[in-house]
Structure formats: C-alpha cells, structure tokens
C-alpha cells in the first residue's frame, strides 16, 4: 500500500505543477493588455503603466510565472481589483456553500441511484429493468440547466413550495438554508443518479453470478442480506471510480446551478468574475478548483486501492 501511495504521489506533483503552468498561461490568451482589460478603455496611460508595474506585467513571462508560483505556494493568490479582498478569503467564504451543495447532490444521487441499481440488477431483463435503464438513458440527455428550469417552474412558479432563488446562512435560519438547497441539489442529483444506477447495475449483475453468491443462497440467507452484505461492496468499485470522475461533472453542474439559483458558492464566484472581468479572482478560482479536483481524484484513487487490493499490487 505504501509503495502504491508513493508511486501515485510521484505522479501527483508533475501534474500539479503543469496545472499551475496552464492556469497561468491561460491569462496570456487575452488579446491586448491585462492592465487595460482590468482598468477599462478609459484609463489614462499613467494608470495603466502603474498597474503594469504593480502586477509585474513588464517582466518576462517565465520570471512572472516563477514569481506567481512562489506566491501561490505561500498561499498568496492576490487581491480582487473590484472588492479589494484577497482571493483566498473570498474563496474561503464561498467554499462551504459549494461543498454543501455538492454533498447534498451526491447523497441524493446515491439515494436514488443505488436502490434502483440493485433493483435493476435483481430484475435484470424484466420490464422494470428495461423501463429504468431506458429512462436513465433519456435523463442523461437532459442538461442541468434544463432540470433547473423544469424544477423552478414546477416547485416555485406553479406550486409555490420552494424558493426559486435566494440563500440564507445556516446560522441565521437552518431550515431556510436547507430549503434553499433543495432545488439546486435535486437539479444536480437528477443528472447524477442515472450514471450511478447504470454503473452499479452492470457491476451488480456480474457479482450476482459469482459462486459465493450461489453459496450464500444455498445457505438460505435472506435475499436482502445477500444483496446488501455480500454483493454490494464488491459491486461498488466502479461506483467509487465513477463518483470520482463525476466530481468534474458535478463541479461543472454546480457552476451552472449556483448561478441559476443565486447560491453564493465558488461557481457563482467564477461566473461573476467573468461578468465583471475580475481576472485576478478568475485565475485564483480556476487554480483552486483545478488543484482541488486533482487532489480529490488522488483521494478517490487511494480509496479505490483500499477497496480493491489488486490495484495496489499492480495486478489489475
């Protein structure tokens, strides 16, 4: 296990370094001058020159990258030119909202996907299985923003059950806070469960054909016990990997959903930074999200190795 962790760690650092380089280089795609883009067309040449000096834009690119990387390693991501707040403080204030959203969405997705996946595997080929796999395929073609529109129309416009937008801090109004997360989390979960269900279904079907399941049946164990205790864990390997890959989808979905439902999370911060052309915040958020994504995938790899010993011995 330690050797496996070491090998993965050796792979992790070049990727992280390349991620910082790419994040830094994206900014140079900007046609024209970053200082002009930040200050606007009406800025005086003196002001532009002053900002260029302050941001080090008059230095060579390689030097600027190393300087920026040094700052990043020390946790210094710069300050927003709009609000004057540090990037890290802004992200810190928004992160809990995004995490709450994604955890609720993933839980809801698992809550729908896992039971349905088991059900389909048990009734493989039956009409329920065909109905569910068919509708899962169809639902995968519904983008998050369509679900959002549909849910807003149903629950906010027609039924007046839940707020369409708006967010209350948890400390002020716990129930109101949870209420404001219901529709956004459901929007994401509706895109999540078909993926989770399909993966679990196919793994579960394979597991149910193993000899030890026949053995457990022969011993007279209750079907529920066989499914949940004997079959679920060995069938959940791909589910874990897919949950890992899904984090990328989930982050993308969260950006859209936070913007639609006006949740003050990282995604809305990113979109807001693009609307206001706040490039310092934009760069900081992209870096933060990418590094977080790489580290999460690393954690998923580790979890995978814990679940399946063959992986850590390199025999899979």
């Amino acid at each position: 296990m330690l050797g496996y962790v070491g090998r993965r760690l050796l792979h992790l650092f070049p990727v992280l370094l390349a991620v910082t380089l790419l994040t830094f280089l994206i900014a140079s795609l900007l046609p024209g001058d970053l200082a002009v883009a930040i200050l606007g067309d009406q800025a005086t040449p003196e002001k532009v020159a002053a900002l260029r000096g302050q941001m080090g834009l008059d230095q060579p690119v390689a030097w600027r990258y190393l300087h920026w990387l040094g700052d990043v390693i020390h946790g210094e991501l710069g300050r927003s030119f709009r609000t004057g707040e540090t990037v890290l403080a802004t992200i810190g204030a928004r992160l809990p909202v995004s995490l709450e959203l994604m955890i609720m969405a993933e839980l809801a997705g698992l809550l729908i996907g896992v039971p349905l996946g088991i059900l389909c595997a048990v009734r493989q080929g039956g009409s329920l299985d065909r109905l569910l796999t068919g509708s899962a395929f169809g639902m995968l073609s519904v983008p998050a923003f369509l679900w959002a529109i549909l849910l807003i129309y149903l629950f906010a416009v027609e039924l007046h059950l839940l707020p369409a937008t708006g967010w209350v801090p948890f400390e002020e109004d716990a129930l109101g806070n949870l209420k404001s997360f219901v529709l956004p989390a459901l929007t994401l979960a509706l895109g999540e469960w078909p993926v989770l269900m399909r993966v679990l279904r196919s793994d579960m079907i394979a597991t149910l054909q193993e000899d030890y399941i026949a053995m457990a049946k022969a011993k007279g164990l209750r079907p529920a016990r066989i499914l949940l205790v004997h079959a679920l864990k060995p069938s959940s390997l791909t589910l874990v990997t897919v949950s890992g890959i899904n984090i990328g989808r989930l982050i993308g979905g969260a950006i859209i959903v936070e913007t639609i439902f006006a949740l003050p999370g990282i995604g809305r911060l990113l979109v807001g930074a693009i609307y206001t052309r706040d490039f310092i915040i934009l760069q900081g958020v992209v870096l933060f999200v990418a590094v977080g994504f790489v580290l999460l995938n690393f954690a998923v790899d580790m979890l995978y190795a814990v679940l399946d010993p063959r992986i850590r011995h390199g025999r899979a």
Partner: protein, 287 residues
C-alpha cells in the same frame, strides 16, 4: 457460467433489438431534420430571427409566427432554426477538432509507444486534470466570446478523450496479424498507420464523435444560457432558454420550446452514437 449467460442473452436479444432500431431511425431522422433546417435556414420561408416587434411580444402562434414570438417580439420558429445553426456549428466543429488532433496523437502514441507516448498522454492527463467546464469558461473569458472561439476552445479540450480512444484501439490493433503481415511485406510506418490502422480506428472514433456532439451541444447551451456563450443577437437554444426563464410565470413556453428541441437533439445524438458504439464495441462483436 458467464459464457452460458451471454449465450442465453443472445437468444433472447432479437425482439428488443428490433424495437431499438425504430428508435434509432427516429433519432437519425430528427438529426437529419435539424441539420437540413440549419443548413438551409437562409432559404426557408421564415421570419427574420432578429427583427423585433415590441407591439407583438410573447404572442401565441398564428399564421405569421408559427410558434409565436419571444419577449422582444422575435419569431420563435426562426430563432430555433438559426439557433440550430449555432448549436450544430459548435457541436460539429469542436468534436471535429478533437477527432483530427486526438486521432493523430492517439494513433502515433499507440503505434510508436516509448517517450512520445509518455509525453503525449502526460499532456492529455494535464488537460483532464481540470474540470472541463471551468477550463472552457476561463479560456473563453480571456479569448472573448464568439462561435469560432467557443468551437476552438471546446475542440481543444475534446482532444484528450479522442486521443485516449484512438490510442487504446491502436494498441490492441497493432498486435494483430494483418499489421504483422503488412510489416513483413515491408510496408512503411506511414502506410501501416494510414492504410492498415486508420480504417479500423475510425469506426470506434465515429461512434465517440456522435456522443461528443451531444456533450458539446449541452456545453454550448449551458454557456449561452449563462450569457457566456455566443454573443447576442446571434440566436442559440441556450440563450433562448435563458431569456425564457425570465418569463416562466407568464409565458413558460418561451423556455420550454427551445428546451424541448435541445433535449430531443441531444437525445438523438446520444441514441445514434450509442447504437454505433454497440456495433463497434469489440466485446459485443466477439459473439
């Protein structure tokens, strides 16, 4: 045990397969309609997609406006058709970029192996290290929003998945007898890559291409929905849904009509791509 079960599956298979193919043809027909409408949008007897009529806002369907008008009095049918043009331009151009560069990189990596493979696939891993939508948003924020920039950005980001598929297919094909035979006959690397491997790699890539079209249409729709895709007044299904969202309470169809069209198109590409993938999947071909 497993072999026995697949054999049983194979015996039962024909009936659901025939039903699936009806759905397949319906999907293909829908794609054909959307593609033709988008291609000949200029010649169709429809209203202008950008002319506003403030006296006829959110009108129900009539003889002049078959699907009614939107919040600025623009013809919805015409905006749908010109929106199809945007969706399909981005939706076809981006995967095409991904296919060309991805196939070249992946095939070269899978055929020559060694340092080139390590470098190329390492580069692909870095691109995959970003959540895709974050990278699309960031790059277009710097480059500026236009159909071309959007297509190039999404195209650039779709290179890694294509490269992976191409490499995996090439890796398994390069071991096959016909490649060894070609080599024994003294074929050059270029000939083996282009005449022996490419035709075999192309089919799985084509299936993947259609699935990528579906994903790209969704991404373009999402960006335009947020106002970060194609700039107005160019019509796009995503921006139509975004505009319709403002009047969900008084005129929900303004959002639901383009939403339905977007859904059907994405579903159609997914269905056709998935059917093609099932045909080209070597695991199912083995039977």
């Amino acid at each position: 045990m497993a072999v026995l079960d697949t054999a049983v599956d194979g015996a039962v298979a024909p009936r659901p397969q025939r039903r699936l193919s009806n759905v397949f043809w319906a999907a293909a027909a829908w794609i054909a309609i959307v593609v033709l409408a988008a291609a000949f949008a200029n010649f169709l007897p429809i209203q202008s997609p950008t002319d506003m009529d403030m006296l006829a806002r959110r009108m129900p369907p009539d003889a002049q406006h078959w699907l009614g008008t939107d919040g600025l009095g623009r013809d919805i049918l015409s905006r749908l058709i010109f929106g199809a043009r945007t969706s399909l331009t981005v939706g076809l151009l981006s995967p095409l970029i991904g296919l060309l560069f991805g196939a070249a990189l992946g095939m070269l990596a899978g055929y020559f192996r060694g340092k080139f493979e390590a470098l190329a696939m390492g580069g692909m891993d870095v691109l995959l290290a970003f959540p895709p939508l974050v990278l699309v948003l960031a790059i277009t924020a710097y480059l500026g929003q236009s159909v071309l920039n959007l297509s190039m950005t999404i195209g650039f980001l779709s290179i890694p998945p294509f490269a992976r598929v191409a490499r995996a297919t090439t890796l398994s094909l390069a071991q096959r007898e016909f490649v060894t035979a070609a080599r024994a006959l003294g074929a050059t690397h270029a000939r083996i890559l282009l005449r022996e491997l490419l035709p075999n790699v192309l089919l799985p890539l084509a299936a993947f291409f259609l699935l990528a079209v579906a994903v790209t249409i969704v991404v373009e729709g999402a960006l335009s929905f947020l106002g970060l895709g194609v700039p107005p007044p160019t019509s796009s299904w995503g921006s139509m849904i975004g505009e319709g969202r403002e009047s969900l309470d008084i005129a929900p169809w303004l959002a639901f009509i383009p939403a339905g069209v977007l859904f059907l198109t994405v579903l159609a590409f997914n269905l056709v791509g998935d059917a093609l993938r099932a045909i080209t999947d070597p695991r199912e071909n083995a039977l």
